[in-house]
């Protein structure tokens, strides 16, 4: 059925473009605004905080301490993490020697078909961020076989670890620099804050379906 | 408007059909203001209508016939001044579309470039300076949609009012909203149009203004017609007539 429709649709479209080949003027793209490293961090933080993200700037050495504090305040019992990522390994290592009653680390190492109930019942998920965009205040999440997609959307709390030197000026810039067209993964997500809606009388409400809270740690070297 | 011409010796005046039939004092006031600034005004007597009513109502051929007639009447290269943003917009921005397939399109485009709405001409070409002789008065301003969005002369009009030192201009809360005239819209969708003009008159009332000033007679007829129907005492007046009255401390020349 689809084949016949496809043929008919294309016949109509081709017929129309044969008749009209109006030259389309090339419009120049918009200039990319550039910020200094300091400005990038500041702009990202400001924009994300305006979207109710909690932003911490920490050192590359002690970010896990910040994570522990954040989890403690919220009485998180189970934290979903990706064991094969750099941050996952660092977490495992630090957790081993942890005193007191730290949250249980839940490794996302099986297929979702076997992990679904767990994924939907953890209190928090922690992922890396592949980068961020200063101009619009958004993280770039680049899920992979190492870091599954659901980690950053199902748990009510999402913690993202971002290296300060991976903050780009704009989406256009990072697409160019990293040659995205040649490297598109299954899924790329830009995230600018916790889930929200204004569907009821234009009143802002948070945590509709996605995480109620987003915490970003910006790691300065 | 990007470029305005130098002050000319002569201008044409296109009165518009509503001014001709219902608000001729406003039309005359516009002419007097131009003459006062030392410009000779030429009024081709065979002029009638810019064609917009038919153009907007689904009758482009009839609109074209009437528009073509008007174009013939202004053969010299003088600027053509129009006391209406709506009609000026029609002649300036829509004639090129109406005549897009016409062999004379180049001539018509040049014609369109000579069209100016009265306020912008007074402000940018004649650099008019107004001395207010009248008593203190509160007024409010309404722009036709085409003055606002096509001709973009709203600020020019308001700047003229602001030159009058005893006139207190109170802005409408929803100044940029359509009054609901829309030509035949008012009779094709009368209930929606009525809802729009009611909001406009409510807005006018809340300003406490004694008078509603506008540069377009379609809007004027619509809004003041509604105000009178509802026994609202605020008067409505065309900008040209209002200015003439203020600088001469007497009613317009009619």
């Amino acid at each position: 059925m689809s084949e016949g429709s496809r043929h008919r649709i294309f016949s109509k479209l081709h017929a129309a473009t044969r008749q009209t080949t109006a030259p389309v003027s090339q419009s120049p793209g918009l200039p990319i605004k550039t910020y200094s490293q300091k400005e990038k961090i500041e702009k990202l933080k400001t924009l994300m905080e305006a979207m109710r993200t909690e932003v911490h700037i920490t050192g590359a050495e002690n970010w896990i301490d910040t994570v522990e504090d954040v989890l403690k305040i919220r009485e998180v019992k189970r934290l979903l993490y990706a064991p094969r990522t750099e941050i996952g390994k660092m977490l495992e290592h630090q957790w081993e020697g942890a005193a007191g009653d730290p949250p249980q680390l839940i490794p996302y190492k099986k297929d979702v078909e076997q992990m679904k109930e767990m994924v939907f019942n953890v209190d928090a998920g922690i992922t890396s961020a592949a980068g961020a965009i200063a101009e619009t205040g958004a993280l770039i999440l680049w899920p992979s076989d190492k870091e599954p997609r659901l980690m950053s959307i199902v748990p009510p709390l999402h913690i993202a670890i971002l290296k300060a030197d991976t903050i780009h000026n704009s989406l256009s810039e990072v697409m160019q620099k990293e040659n995205w067209p040649a490297n598109m993964p299954t899924n790329v997500v830009l995230v600018s804050g916790p889930s929200k809606t204004a569907d009821i009388e234009m009143t802002l409400a948070f945590g509709v379906h996605g995480p109620k809270e987003l915490i970003v740690l910006i790691l300065e070297d | 408007m990007d470029q305005y011409p130098e002050k000319p010796q002569k201008v044409y005046y296109f009165g518009t059909c509503l001014v001709d039939m219902i608000y001729p004092e406003a039309g005359m006031a516009g002419i007097k203001l131009l003459q006062q600034e030392g410009v000779k005004v030429i009024f081709p007597p065979d002029q009638t209508c810019c064609g917009q009513p038919a153009y907007n109502s689904g009758f482009p051929d009839e609109a074209r016939a009437v528009a073509a007639k008007q174009i013939e009447l202004f053969p010299e290269k003088y600027p053509i001044v129009v006391p209406s943003g709506s009609c000026a917009g029609m002649m300036r921005h829509h004639y090129p579309k109406l005549f897009a397939d016409d062999p004379n399109i180049d001539y018509i485009k040049k014609f369109s470039e000579r069209i100016f709405e009265l306020s912008e001409f007074l402000v940018h070409v004649l650099n008019i300076k107004l001395q207010d002789c009248g008593d203190p008065i509160k007024v409010t301003w309404h722009s036709s949609c085409h003055a606002l969005r096509e001709m973009r002369t709203t600020e020019d009009s308001k700047s003229l009012i602001r030159q009058l030192k005893n006139v207190d201009l109170i802005e409408l809360q929803h100044e940029n909203e359509c009054c609901g005239f829309g030509g035949t819209f008012a009779v094709k969708q009368p209930a929606i149009s009525a809802a729009m003009v009611k909001d406009k008159t409510d807005d006018i009332r809340q300003t406490g203004a004694a008078r509603l000033i506008t540069g377009d007679c379609g809007c004027l007829m619509n809004i003041s017609g509604a105000m009178q129907h509802d026994n609202i005492r605020t008067g409505g007046q065309h900008l040209a007539e209002f200015i003439w009255e203020r600088i001469n401390d007497k009613p317009s020349p009619a």
Partner: protein
């Protein structure tokens, strides 16, 4: 797109204008959206540049539409996304049903998709025993109340808190009555979480489909879109064929325009780019992704070079928010899924003039829509085009149903108007006679409607022509 019931626009308008609560809700919400848009696009020069760019990018894509669609299909297929083509809404519905059936699936969770509304997908699936559940909060609310969306971006905006509280309380088991927005939101979250978990198939729309990479781009604030397109084993994406753009690099300005215009944000909470189904080694994501590309009248619009710009629309909804008519009658009065200015030009072109041509009369041609359209569609010109073809018998007309409005009264009226205005002596004579006799224009025809709300305009005793002569103004 076959419709439902014949459109009784006058009745709809009357009903809407008499619903004070509806108008209050709509006006308040639209004022917020208008303000937010103005704030995010506060730099006039930059905004103008951006809109010009948006217009150019969409025009570019439309100029190569068949090639880009072919490229999109090729790339998607390479990446493992199955591409299907539907000429009509009925075909598209059947395709969705077939995919569901092939998996023995009975539970569908839906992200917001205007195309699916166009298709009336939910009703179709329900007839076949499939639960199609809306997960976008606004869509969820109206689904509970058995309504269609009232606005392209905020579907339940015609309802206020009290009304929504009642809808929840009446339709959701164990839901306490509350008017607190945070609590209402929490109820929705809880109710839908189970549904995401259990769903067999997830459905979404597509904001932009990138031909260069075969990428489907979706924007949202709630997260339900990500859940619908990631949790279930199967993801079905629906798009109108005009949604394809050429390059990934075209996305950033178009996203800025769409999001700024729709919600007044610099970016939505989530921008989701999907290029394939679950790849080797990945732990989650749908194992099957389907893309259904829908025509449903778009190719007809495409065929006319001057009407083609209708397809530039990126469904931001800002024309609705700025429209003085929409602000007074709300979305449902228009009778079709797409209301407001875009609806006034789209519906007559898709449904034909007889069915939907009346919508083109519901405009004062104020140009507020054109002023804000992010891709610079000349909406008022298209409204005039629709009006022209409604009255024309010229066989060169291209919209179905042209000439449907032809009637002797209007044709004669404008012919007479033309004669009077091309014969200045007749014009002058006529006016003079009327004013000498002091005849008040009779309250018939259009004047009947005019005088319901305004006084009859009075012809002046002396026309401007006469005053000009009297004052000795020159003529050459």
């Amino acid at each position: 797109m076959t419709n439902h019931h014949p459109l009784d626009f006058d009745k709809n308008v009357s009903r809407a204008l008499n619903d004070a609560q509806l108008i209050k809700n709509i006006k308040s919400a639209m004022a917020t959206l208008v303000f937010k848009r103005k704030t995010i696009f506060s730099d006039a020069a930059e905004t103008e540049q951006l809109r010009t760019l948006g217009n150019a990018l969409k025009k570019k894509a439309l100029s190569k539409l068949p090639q880009l669609l072919e490229q999109l299909e090729e790339k998607c297929t390479q990446n493992g996304i199955q591409v299907h083509w539907a000429e009509t809404a009925a075909e598209a519905n059947q395709l969705v049903l077939d995919i569901m059936k092939s998996h023995g699936a009975t539970r569908l969770v839906k992200g917001k998709s205007m195309v699916s509304e166009e298709m009336e997908l939910n009703a179709f699936l329900q007839k076949h025993g499939i639960e199609a559940l809306e997960t976008d909060l606004g869509e969820f609310i109206i689904q509970l109340n058995n309504e269609t969306p009232a606005h392209i971006i905020v579907p339940a905006i015609h309802k206020n808190k009290d009304q929504i509280s009642k809808i929840f309380h009446d339709n959701i088991a164990d839901a306490p009555y509350t008017e607190d927005v945070a609590e209402l939101t929490a109820i929705a979250r809880k109710t839908l979480r189970q549904k995401f978990y259990q769903a067999d198939v997830g459905l979404s729309g597509v904001n932009f489909a990138v031909a260069e990479t075969g990428t489907l781009c979706l924007v949202e604030n709630e997260g339900n879109g990500r859940l619908c397109t990631t949790v279930p084993k199967v993801h079905i994406a629906l798009m109108g064929l005009e949604k394809v753009i050429e390059k990934l690099a075209d996305l950033p300005p178009l996203l800025r325009l769409l999001i700024g215009s729709a919600t007044g944000q610099i970016i939505t909470t989530y921008v989701n780019m999907i290029t394939s189904a679950r790849r080797e080694g990945e732990k989650d994501g749908p194992k099957e992704v389907h893309l259904i590309i829908l025509d449903n009248g778009r190719s007809k619009i495409f065929a006319d070079p001057r009407r083609r710009q209708t397809l530039q629309c990126i469904r931001c909804g800002t024309c609705l928010s700025h429209c003085p008519v929409y602000n007074r009658i709300g979305g449902h009065a228009y009778g079709y899924i797409y209301p407001g200015p875009i609806g006034k030009i789209l519906n007559p072109q898709v449904e034909g003039l007889k069915a939907a041509g009346v919508l083109a009369s519901a405009s004062s041609l104020c140009n507020a829509c054109e002023e804000v359209c992010p891709v610079k569609i000349q909406i008022p010109d298209l409204i005039r085009r629709i009006r022209n073809e409604s009255y024309s018998k010229d066989p060169n007309c291209t919209i179905e149903g042209y000439g449907y409005k032809r009637n002797l009264v209007e044709i004669l009226t404008w012919k007479v108007w033309e004669k009077i205005n091309t014969h200045p002596l007749i014009n002058a004579a006529g006016l003079k006679i009327l004013s000498i006799l002091g005849i008040k224009l009779p309250k018939i025809g259009p004047l009947k409607y005019w005088t319901r709300y305004r006084i009859t305009p009075e012809l002046s005793k002396k026309s401007l022509h006469e005053l000009v002569k009297q004052h000795g103004v020159d003529h050459e």
